[in-house]
Symmetry: C2
Subunit: 176 residues, 2 copies
Amino acid sequence: MTDDDHGALAPEQLGAYFALMEAVSLLQHAVEQQLRTEGDLSWVQFQLLARLAGVPGRQLTMTALADGVVYSRSGLTYQAAQLEKAGLVTRDPSPDDERATLVTITPAGLERVATVLPGHIQVARHLLFDPLTDGDLHHLGDIMTRVRDHMRAQPPRSAAPRKRRSPSPDGCQATG
Amino acid sequence: MTDDDHGALAPEQLGAYFALMEAVSLLQHAVEQQLRTEGDLSWVQFQLLARLAGVPGRQLTMTALADGVVYSRSGLTYQAAQLEKAGLVTRDPSPDDERATLVTITPAGLERVATVLPGHIQVARHLLFDPLTDGDLHHLGDIMTRVRDHMRAQPPRSAAPRKRRSPSPDGCQATG
DNA sequence: TATTGTTATACTCTATAACTATA
DNA sequence: TATAGTTATAGAGTATAACAATA
């Protein structure tokens, strides 16, 4: 436990935090509905495809693909398998490193992203950008880019091989 | 006004959008780990408890409790049952409306929120506030509050026939 | 009939651990 | 030994539909 920064947040901080979380929660839900309805994709799957679509060569190793999107190896394997079943990506062994799997987006995958993107953007516009001025938007982008880079630089709490979680104070979910 | 908004987003908009989504995704993941580790709570469960803790009388009907959080009815029933099993809330029929269920946070529930809040705040501070100036924070709170209120006022987009609450300027206070 | 909430059920997704194969 | 990925498995969470009870 680091003791260098306990103490309560100012009410304004707490308000900003909860407003942020709730707004993004609402946005995520709307976006997930749009992706599911118009493209039969989850938000995670869309992120993976979008990442592949935006990369030169349009392929990444599993590890590189997982970065920032999925928090366990098996989770990515599952999602990659789903995408492969749907014909949106292929998986092949890397020629450089026989351990690695190269995930490549297919033409169908690119098409799916293209299909889904306009509606996706429209949802973001309606819910996020409409109530914002250009100045707000600029500041928001600046702030969140800094926050994101800061977070990515933090020691990942889940990627590291972690032991069991500490004993819980009281069982919240009784099994069954 | 549904035809004045097709076309692509400016790159800056897209960048702000993705930075926002990724940063919050990272933040949510960190926060969920903290809540699970220190309080055996999911983010959703924490939100429900915090909401109950911040309301006069410390009880709400299921519908009121769900409102603002994007749930199906059955999803809330499930979560309420989990919280009840853990002794953090009680469920009783409302005297005013025999159809309604009043969910009340217990002393143990309040204690759990109090237990979890300091670490929760610390995570938010480390990941979200550390890289921000006071000005950033103020602007972020202002922006996201506006965005949240805007989203809440939106009609559900091809969603199930769910009742939305009239927009009330209710801040999400998690007072311990 | 409309509304409030629960139950039954099926499904998606995630995480841990054990495993294989390569570096 | 360490790294890359898969598989087995378990369980949390969600959504839809059918249901009962009250307004």
